[in-house]
Subunit: 209 residues, 2 copies
């Protein structure tokens, strides 16, 4: 039992460490030794839990997805009654968590897939799965906003939810280039303005509507 | 003279090859051997031109920046008289070049900085320089649109130009996750709609204006 617990702890430590090390150094530059050192576990423990670094990265993507789901599902904006308030609350929440080191607020999934999309199909598939699952939670609120307002626009809730993710992922790239969160916060302000124009201030017709 | 020409050719071949190999495999996973093999040159030629792989990546970022500048400065939309037509023409042009392999239409600078922002300051600085220079060309048209329309909004032309880059960079990440350009084209459609709402269809006031 004590041995089993130590092994389980080692797996959790490795997964927790992977989120930080990969977001800081990138996937290919991260070695199994780096991960073991950061987690304070042996290489034996690593290969007890994971067949390879690729296998660990797939588990790490799932771990990040689960962590994000916990974070967002318990955030205050989820309790708002109006779906548009929840949608704008989500955007405001994303802005509010742009704090600290760049590696702390950027996305493991975007980092992994940027590097490994072509060379590691299992990593690509895992990143797609968890990015899409997260986008689907946002999409549900967009569908509800459209239903409440009786909107039948020329775009889909799904495409808007993915657009929101593209802005966030791209804002992280600019934050990395400029080595700080300010540019990402400005991007999220433009994103919020787009949602307000679509759902609140759109008095005129839309050319593409 | 013949030797000098061969060496110059080797440098160009290496830089051209680097654009493709790094966009496909990522920076850290690309070895000097990979680059020499793709360029068809010797390792001796590589180290004649570049001190290290990092040094080559900085030159590669400059090479990509110069290639992009050539591409955009000669595109048809640049000849349009109205600055808003040029701005929307830029967005349409970005959509039109989402063709072929994902590694062909994605951005070397976003790929490099995603991985190396923390570990390679010279690479980060080069990516920032060329992303920002490209954004500045878009910003010039936004400034002109605002001037022509007498707009004094609560946001800056600079922030909007960077927002446009964030959408493009993020749309490439989603294209990698979904392994095709369709999702990126949908994101660019939303971006165009935002610009239309800001500059054409904004009949109501803006809450954040």
């Amino acid at each position: 039992m004590a041995v089993a617990k130590t092994l389980t702890d080692a797996k959790t430590k490795l997964l927790d460490a992977s989120l930080q090390v990969i977001r800081c150094k990138g996937y290919a530059a991260t070695s199994v030794d780096d991960l073991c050192r950061a987690a304070g576990v042996t290489k034996g423990a690593f290969f007890h839990h994971f067949k390879s670094k690729e296998d660990m990265a797939v588990a790490s993507a799932a771990h990040f997805g689960a962590m994000a789901e916990g974070l967002f599902s318990h955030a205050g904006y989820r309790d708002l009654a109006d779906p548009l308030d929840r949608l704008l609350g989500y955007v405001d929440f994303r802005k509010s968590i742009l704090r600290g080191e760049v590696s702390h607020f950027t996305c493991l999934l975007g980092t992994l897939v940027q590097e490994a999309y072509e060379t590691n199909p299992a990593i690509r598939a895992a990143c797609d799965q968890y990015i899409s699952a997260h986008a689907a939670t946002v999409e549900a609120d967009i569908v509800e906003v459209m239903r409440v307002r009786g909107m039948v626009p020329g775009w889909t809730a799904s495409s808007l939810a993915l657009y929101i993710q593209s802005v966030l992922q791209g804002s992280f790239i600019l934050a990395k280039a400029k080595h700080g969160p300010a540019v990402a916060a400005d991007c999220i302000d433009h994103l919020r303005r787009y949602l307000e124009l679509l759902f609140i201030n759109n008095k005129g017709g839309l050319r593409n509507d």
